[in-house]
């Protein structure tokens, strides 16, 4: 049996900030893994010689807000590590990322309670547990390790994109028994958030009941937000991927 192909997928659309960040990210991967395969998904208008040179595979996308998921569904690699463009690799352990599946088909990083201070909204009524305990989003989509050899994973990625497009366009939202939109259980503020379509598919869609969705071991090191408070020690081993997610900075220089 042939070895699965392995590679990183980075999506940069809409602004130069994401494009330059993506180039930087790919170079930072190759600083530690010179032979790593990297696929850059970007808009043709953003591409320059730097991107052409560093990317092993190029896919052109449009400027849809969720080109990220569109790109994820089209990964040319069997085992794919998707990383948000505004990240940087800073440790050699990036080379062991493809050993982290641990029996799962798709892995993300988590949203445990001790890191909730970093996120705007986590809990919502529709996710409340049967015992009455509050619940909500558990997965963070900043990075995603997935096995495209599994047809269910492929379908999942496509369905995630399709559902998100419908959601953003206002054509899909969970309904109440009377047929109206259920905004009591699923707040209006989630309508432009792919986190919600991810939650819906993994928690409510029977088709994906057998999909093994997991959280990376020592997950904070694989997606360490620059806003994390170091004294809370979210990571056990050194940070591998740092996520620069400051929205204000993104707007500051690049449009």
């Amino acid at each position: 049996m042939s070895q699965p192909t392995k590679g990183f997928l980075i999506v940069a659309s809409r602004t130069k900030f994401f494009y330059y960040s993506a180039c930087n990210l790919i170079e930072s991967i190759k600083d530690f893994m010179p032979d790593a395969k990297c696929c850059l998904v970007t808009e043709e208008r953003l591409l320059d010689d730097r991107g052409r040179e560093i990317a092993d595979d190029l896919i052109f996308c449009d400027d849809h807000k969720r080109a990220k998921i569109w790109g994820m569904a089209r990964s040319p690699y069997d085992l794919t590590m998707y990383i948000d463009a505004d990240c940087e690799v800073e440790h050699e352990d990036i080379s062991i990322i493809f050993d982290q599946f641990n029996g799962s088909d798709v892995l993300f990083t988590g949203l445990p309670v001790e890191r909730h201070y970093c996120y705007a909204e986590v809990y919502f009524e529709g996710a409340r547990r049967p015992d009455g305990q509050p619940a909500g989003f558990e997965l963070c989509g900043g990075v995603c390790l997935y096995d495209m050899r599994n047809p269910l994973v492929r379908e999942f990625m496509h369905d995630w994109f399709d559902l998100t497009v419908e959601q953003y366009a206002g054509r899909w939202w969970p309904k109440k028994e009377d047929g109206t939109e259920d905004l009591e259980n699923y707040p209006q503020s989630f309508k432009r958030w792919d986190q919600f379509s991810l939650w819906w598919l993994t928690k409510k869609e029977p088709k994906y009941a057998d999909l093994k969705v997991g959280v990376l071991e020592d997950d904070a090191r694989w997606n360490y937000y620059s806003k994390y408070r170091p004294h809370l020690k979210h990571n056990k081993d050194p940070i591998v991927i740092r996520h620069y997610s400051s929205a204000s900075a993104k707007q500051e220089v690049y449009t």
């Binding site: 900030f17 180039c23 170079e27 930072s28 408070r229 170091p230 740092r242 620069y244 900075a249 220089v253």
Partner: protein, 154 residues
Amino acid sequence: MEYEVLDNAYWEDGIDDRSVLKCIRMHKQADGSKRKEIIVFSRLLPDRSLCPNFKEVVATVGTEKIDANTNERRQRKTMEQKTGHVKKEQQKKAAQLEKLFHMKLQAFEIPEIRDSKNRKLRTALRRSENEVEMNAYASLIIGIEKGILNESTD
């Protein structure tokens, strides 16, 4: 007016002086609800006589309990101050890291750096831990690319 003095009163001037007392009085309203009143009493009134409100709170809560509240509050405030300081420092550091990241992206837009094949220096620039280090590597790359400095590329 009917009210209740809460038992979390403390000495505002510390347990050495015990001359200024801060407490909360919960007033019962006609509709059954309660109104909170935060109030400070000095032991002595302007005419040097003992303040009856002060006396009432000490009698209700007890000097020992007020001492304990004062110590507990002081410890809590010190801890909050420390935690607040740590939080502020970390926010500052996070902002510096973000800024450095954006400066590096900008550095890689400079044609001499963007097009440089000197992988060693490009990596060093990317891993710079502060602005000074980043500027030093950026200058080195530009110097080499412009032929001002002499170093073979890898």
